[in-house]
């Protein structure tokens, strides 16, 4: 059985030392190993950004796509081969700016993939512009006088879009993160996981320390029930989105693949391409 080391490759990540993304990579590798997967069963797809490099740092199938389109890519892959573990990953710019439309539609569609957003409240790779997650007043290269747009609340939005799995992790709490990712992969539907992954180079506000002081793990909330959507929404609003852990899970709703009329359990990609002659002839009858 593969260990987390089997998910490592020999590429040295080009992230800055201390970047939160290292922990996300490690947690993903651990979660996969814990779940007993082999590298070839796994595909990690990613967007463009510092975070987007992650697909190249794991020993597994990896696809580093274009900015903001990782989710359609991942959904297409899962449709082709439902036996694969498909993990989509990217930054907060990737998933909440240019790619937000796909994020929300992937949530409502509920195809069984796991989505990791490395949320550093900034654009790392393009050297420090504001992101949709930047707080009002946050000063960046593109908002020298401070951001004036309301930050996006991705998890509340996810709930509003009918998400069946909503979680939030933090790069400093690797055990929690491993657990979240494991559960996300196990969840038979779309798993929306936002991860506070500090950018040590451009974000001097939302630092490790800042997060440590501000996150509210669900297990510090008495009687928190991750199956109550309304409660989850309310708690997110009350904690201003700083809630971490598995925030909501709906285990009843089947995944998209399981709801498609006539869709087989056997992956599409394993089915023969050649159509039977009889089937072909039958199709033509409609046009006779």
């Amino acid at each position: 059985m593969a260990t987390f080391k089997d998910f490592r490759n020999d590429v040295a990540p080009n992230w800055c030392p201390g970047c939160g993304d290292f922990a996300v990579l490690a947690a993903m590798q651990r979660a996969l190993a814990n779940l007993g997967y082999e590298p070839e069963q796994v595909a990690v797809l990613s967007g463009i950004g510092c975070s987007g490099r992650i697909s190249g740092y794991i020993h597994a199938y990896g696809f580093h796509g274009v900015h903001g389109r990782v989710l359609p890519l991942a959904q297409g892959l899962k449709m082709a081969n439902r036996d694969l573990v498909v993990i989509a990953a990217g930054g907060d710019g990737d998933g909440y700016a240019i790619g937000l439309n796909h994020t929300i539609h992937a949530i409502r569609r509920n195809i069984d993939i796991t989505y990791l957003v490395m949320d550093n409240q900034i654009y790392g790779l393009t050297k420090g512009q504001t992101s949709p997650r930047s707080a009002v007043g946050f000063q960046t290269k593109s908002t020298p006088k401070g951001s004036i747009e309301a930050p996006i609340a991705p998890l509340q939005m996810a709930l509003a879009a009918g998400a069946t799995f909503v979680a939030q992790g933090f790069s400093s709490d690797i055990n929690q993160l491993v657990n979240i990712i494991e559960e996300g992969i196990r969840h038979p539907g779309f798993a929306m996981i936002n991860i506070f992954s500090p950018c040590v180079t451009f974000n001097k506000i939302n630092t490790y320390d800042w997060f440590k002081q501000n996150v509210v793990p669900t297990d510090t909330i008495e009687g928190y029930d991750r199956h109550d959507r309304n409660k989850a929404m309310q708690t997110l609003m009350e904690t201003d989105g700083m809630l971490t852990g598995i925030i909501y899970q709906d285990q009843e709703t089947p995944s998209y693949q399981d709801r498609i009329p006539g869709f087989r359990k056997e992956p599409l990609v394993k089915q023969p391409l050649k159509l039977e002659r009889e089937a072909f002839v039958e199709l033509l009858e409609e046009f006779a």
């Binding site: 020993h59 990896g62 796509g65 892959l77 498609i260 006539g262 046009f287």
Partner: protein
């Protein structure tokens, strides 16, 4: 008795005007006639004039005729708009209800049949359509049985009474018309057809069938005219084969999902029209760069922007060849008949896998939506070729450290390919410039080699029939060149001009990119003049010929971009005008 005639039915949009046309054509198709149809409609749901023009012939005819024999009118607007298209001696069969009137100066006959009244008498005004077809049957002296057969199929689900009522509508329509006219009109009596079984479908259906035949079980798309029927047919049909269609949030998702599915090893595609294709521009580059097979259908319509969404045009040639920043390998093929829609589409998936690049199947609205008689589609002509895809059987073991070289440098530039799930095929893919194992790489030498590798793939690329050739002459006066749906209309114009002693050849471009210059050159060379016939305003196909083959001075353009398909006479006249104006011959 005539070998061919044309029939048109018109009325208000949203009132079921498609039904009578479909019934008429399907029945005639079963009798062995060749049908060719074109629907005139607008971008609105209810209201506005719509019509369906159908050409019936005892031999294959792939164009609209210049004029019209019979017009079935459900309102006065239909008469006003179309009456001048009628031949001398043509007939208007109109619903008595709206008190149809003809202009004074036309030499056509009006037959007013109480469509609505008869239908009402039978229980529902909806059946006025059937009455109208019945009237047609009477006037053209057609056998009623095939019509009854189709009616049974159409309404069978609704029960015997409905079928019978519709049958009655047909009968009464026929009778009423015959009563008025006094008997069938011999000038509309068709010569008997060969009675052979052929198919009757639109290009979009053929494209969808081609995809299924090629093994496609997944499509991702966003609705748009005139491509939606492809997706709609597959939505209906793929579940039978364990597949499905996802209607995505937009075209960006549609193409990227298709890329994802192809990356996963499935055969998947998307289809759209101009606005959607424009939105796919970035992702097409991704497929090119990552060497992921993907097939994209562009059903051209009137542009630019939202343009003329329900009208005929061929103005995306340049965009399909050149769009996306940077330089990628890409294939653009252009079927010219509904049959070719089927075969080309099936072949597109082979090309995509063999060359590991995006393949665009380009059609136009007239081809995608025009319903035509189609020769039986040949199951045995559909091959499945997967190029350098390595199944598990052919994939050697390798140690973990040694990543599979997904972008291995090879002589032909095409690298072996594995898909996720394969134990010894693990590799990385990136839209960033990369090494043989798919890792980002910026070194100058690797970069150059990788660019060369990708572009090398299509050096000398040629599909089996990159051009259609109809070249009876060694040294013709004129070479006609066209693309997509205009093949039939060009041929028809050409035949007329030949009758006047002009020597004319015709080639029709089926492989637009890479442009088959070597195939085209001899015909350009041999001909005195070249008339490129296209449905756009800037002569895009002519540009591709000049760029890739040359002979700028020989090349003249016959263009149409008013939203309607070319008529034979238009090409004929324009060709004559050109000859005269330029003193060519």
């Amino acid at each position: 008795m005539v070998d061919q005639l044309s029939w048109k039915v018109g009325g208000q949009q949203g009132e079921g005007i498609e039904k009578p046309g479909d019934l008429f054509a399907t029945a005639l198709n079963r009798l062995g006639y060749y049908l060719y149809g074109y629907r005139h409609f607008s971008s609105r749901i209810k209201g506005g004039h719509t019509n369906n023009k159908i050409r019936v012939s005892t031999r294959p005819m792939r164009s609209l005729p210049d004029d019209l024999d019979i017009l079935v009118a459900f309102d006065q607007e239909t008469i006003d708009v179309n009456v001048r298209e009628l031949k001398k001696g043509g007939v208007v069969i109109a619903d008595l209800k709206f008190n149809p009137a003809l202009p004074e100066d036309v030499d056509v006959r009006l037959v007013s049949v109480p469509f609505t009244e008869i239908a009402k008498g039978l229980g529902s005004t909806l059946m006025k359509n059937m009455v109208a077809v019945g009237a047609t049957i009477g006037i053209m002296d057609l056998p009623i049985e095939p019509f009854q057969e189709v009616v049974t199929e159409l309404w069978g689900r609704k029960g015997q009474t409905v079928v019978e009522k519709n049958m009655a509508a047909l009968e009464e329509g026929k009778k009423a018309a015959l009563d008025i006219v006094g008997g069938p009109l011999p000038e509309f009596k068709l010569a008997p057809a060969d009675g052979k079984k052929r198919l009757f479908m639109i290009g979009n259906e053929a494209l969808a069938l081609g995809a299924i035949a090629a093994g496609v079980r997944f499509m991702s798309a966003y609705p748009i005219t005139p491509s939606s029927e492809i997706m709609e047919y597959l939505i209906k049909t793929l579940p039978k084969f364990g597949g499905t269609v996802i209607q995505t949030e937009d075209e960006l998702a549609a193409i990227v999902m298709a890329i994802g599915a192809n990356y996963g090893g499935a055969r998947a595609f998307t289809a759209s029209a101009g606005p959607g294709l424009s939105l796919m521009t970035e992702a097409i580059g991704l497929a090119g760069m990552t060497e992921t097979p993907v097939v994209i259908v562009d059903t051209q319509r009137g542009g630019p922007s939202t343009g003329l969404p329900t009208k005929q045009e061929q103005s995306d040639l340049n965009a399909m060849v050149y769009s996306t920043h940077g330089e990628i390998p890409k294939i653009v093929i252009a079927p010219s008949t509904v049959e070719e829609c089927f075969y080309d589409m099936a072949e597109a998936f082979n090309l995509a896998e063999e060359y590991q690049c995006p393949v665009i199947v380009l059609t136009d609205l007239a081809l995608s939506l025009g319903k035509q008689t189609v020769e039986p589609l040949d199951y045995d002509r559909v091959e499945i070729r997967r190029g350098k895809y390595l199944g598990d059987e052919t994939l050697p073991e390798r140690p973990k450290e040694e990543l599979f070289k997904r972008y291995e440098f090879t002589l032909d530039g095409i690298s072996p390919r594995t898909i996720p799930g394969q134990k010894y095929g693990i590799h990385h893919v990136t839209g960033v410039e990369h090494s043989e194992t798919g890792r980002p790489s910026e070194t100058a030498t690797n970069r150059k080699k990788m660019m060369d590798k990708r572009l090398q793939k299509l050096k000398g690329f040629r599909i089996k029939t990159p051009i259609h050739v109809h070249a009876p002459h060694d040294r013709p006066d004129i070479l006609f060149v066209g693309i997509n749906s205009t093949e039939g209309v060009i041929r028809e114009a050409m035949e007329r001009l030949e009758k006047e002693g002009l020597k004319i050849n015709h080639i029709h471009i089926r492989q637009l990119y890479p442009f088959p210059a070597d195939d085209v050159r001899p015909y350009l060379e041999a001909s005195e003049h070249v008339f490129v016939v296209e449905q756009n305003a800037t002569g895009q196909l002519a540009q591709h010929m000049i760029l890739n083959v040359g002979y700028r001075e020989k090349i003249h353009r016959i263009l149409k971009y008013d939203g309607n398909p070319f008529l034979p006479k238009e090409i004929e006249h324009e060709a004559r005008a050109l000859i005269k104006a330029k003193e060519l011959i």
